[in-house]
């Protein structure tokens, strides 16, 4: 290692981040080194603050700095509608649509037997008490992947006996997509999820 010890330590730590290789880690480290002291301090404080203050919402398992997140404590939202998503970033994507006004439940992952991610490692157990507490419909907004489908089928089998309506978001062609470029899997699900034009 040709770096000074503190710099080498920073490069090593940055390399642990997802999608950051040795070259990127080196570039970021030198950028931090060159920027004013105040900016580096703010970055370090932000990292420490996020680890110290962010926790799971007691209701929906979303990341929050309060006991109950803003969405769960918002009385204007429809509390009979619950949308199940895999990650917080999926919740943000759903919120950006401005179409959905119900509540969420974040699983913090998807069932993946190959990666040893079983239902007990996800926030699934926390979902059931919420569902029996006045929820009329559970919308499963999970990725159209093998893991997403495994999780959706698993949840549907567990939720149906609770007497709640379980629906899944439609899977198919993306907006602006070309039919002739769509793959077989996408077209099959687009056909399966077709609906009558009213």
């Amino acid at each position: 290692m040709h770096y000074a010890k503190p710099l080498a330590r920073l490069v090593n730590e940055l390399e642990r981040l997802p999608g950051v290789g040795p070259k990127s880690a080196q570039r970021i480290a030198f950028h931090i080194l060159r920027q004013p002291q105040e900016q580096s301090r703010l970055l370090a404080e932000a990292i420490t603050a996020v680890k110290e203050n962010i926790r799971f919402c007691k209701e929906c398992s979303n990341f929050t700095d309060q006991e109950i997140c803003d969405i769960c404590s918002d009385s204007r939202r429809n509390h009979t509608l619950l949308c199940v998503v895999a990650e917080t970033r999926d919740l943000i994507a759903m919120e950006k649509t401005n179409e959905y006004r119900g509540l969420y439940h974040v699983l913090q992952g998807l069932i993946s037997p190959v990666d040893n991610v079983t239902p007990d490692l996800l926030k699934i157990r926390e979902l059931f008490p919420r569902v029996v507490n006045g929820v009329e419909e559970v919308i499963l907004a999970l990725n159209p992947t093998a893991e997403g489908q495994t999780t959706a089928l698993y949840l549907a089998s567990k939720l149906r006996p609770l007497g709640v309506r379980v629906t899944q978001i439609a899977h198919g062609l993306p907006a602006g997509g070309d039919l002739d470029y769509a793959d077989q899997a996408t077209l099959i699900s687009a056909l399966q999820w077709r609906r009558e034009i009213t």
């Binding site: 037997p113 093998a146 495994t150 993306p174 793959d183 077989q184 899997a185």
Partner: protein, 255 residues
């Protein structure tokens, strides 16, 4: 950059970089390989559907410095019937993980046979069966046999004596059925009835019709399944992570 066409069956995938995916596939010509699919994670990418496990593809591959890159791709089968129940998805995941564990990269000796075996298994798994584990167990037995680790049923795999009084146990480390005398000294021996061993032998050779109509007694079926899974696990040389989930689903704990 030289290119070559091939067929493949996606076994698993992992994300790399910002938008790319690396897929582990089984090809009939080159065995197990890793291919990069550039931009496959972008929404609207025509490659994203092709990175899903248990999807059969026709691809054009460009030879890369370290990993080969998929330049063109057509999905030829999606086995959508496998994606309608947790049990089928878990079973398909399990088969893919076993193949991934048993095959070494660039080992093309049994590649075509294993590729056909897997495609056949996925087709059969979409059909209704009286004993759903029959197809999985039969595929596992044929897979190990194809790779040269096939179990023995006719003679004791420890002392080579004929099993006239019927086998007493099944041992993965010894390579199959073992007699009463040898069974006592083998640590990994799973006590099996002669009927359960006959069931294993039948599964290894049965045709598609038998596999979908066979319905053995529950105890025999459970014993044969655990012996086969232990046998495969031993030869895989590592823990098959999806096995536990599959067993839980089959036992009704997770379905």
């Amino acid at each position: 950059m030289p290119t070559y066409p091939t067929q493949c069956l996606v076994l698993s995938r992992r994300d790399i970089g910002e938008n790319d995916r690396c897929v582990t596939v089984l090809t009939p010509e080159f065995g197990k390989r890793n291919f990069v699919m550039r931009g496959a994670r972008r929404s609207g990418s025509k490659l994203s559907g092709a990175t899903e496990p248990f999807t059969r593809l026709k691809v054009l591959i460009a030879t890369g410095k370290s990993l080969d890159v998929v330049t063109q791709c057509e999905i030829t089968a999606v086995y959508s019937g496998l994606r309608t129940s947790v049990a089928d998805l878990a079973a398909a995941c399990y088969l893919c993980e076993v193949v991934d564990a048993l095959l070494h990269e660039h080992d093309d000796q049994s590649a075509a046979a294993v590729f056909n075996l897997m495609c056949h298994a996925f087709n059969l798994m979409q059909q209704p069966a009286l004993w759903p584990d029959a197809v999985i167990n039969a595929t596992l037995l044929r897979l190990v046999t194809e790779l040269g680790y096939g179990p023995r049923y006719d003679q004791c795999s420890c002392c080579d004596e004929p099993l006239d009084n019927g086998p007493a146990a099944f041992s993965a480390s010894n390579g199959g059925a073992v007699c009463r005398v040898c069974a006592s000294g083998i640590k990994d021996a799973i006590a099996l009835s002669a009927e359960a061993v006959s069931l294993i032998a039948l599964l290894a050779s049965a045709g598609a019709r038998t596999l979908t109509t066979i319905c053995p007694p529950e105890k025999q079926a459970a014993l044969a399944t655990s012996a086969i899974h232990a046998y495969v696990q031993f030869h895989a040389g590592r823990i098959i992570k999806s096995a536990e989930f599959l067993h839980a689903v089959r036992a009704g704990r997770e379905s």
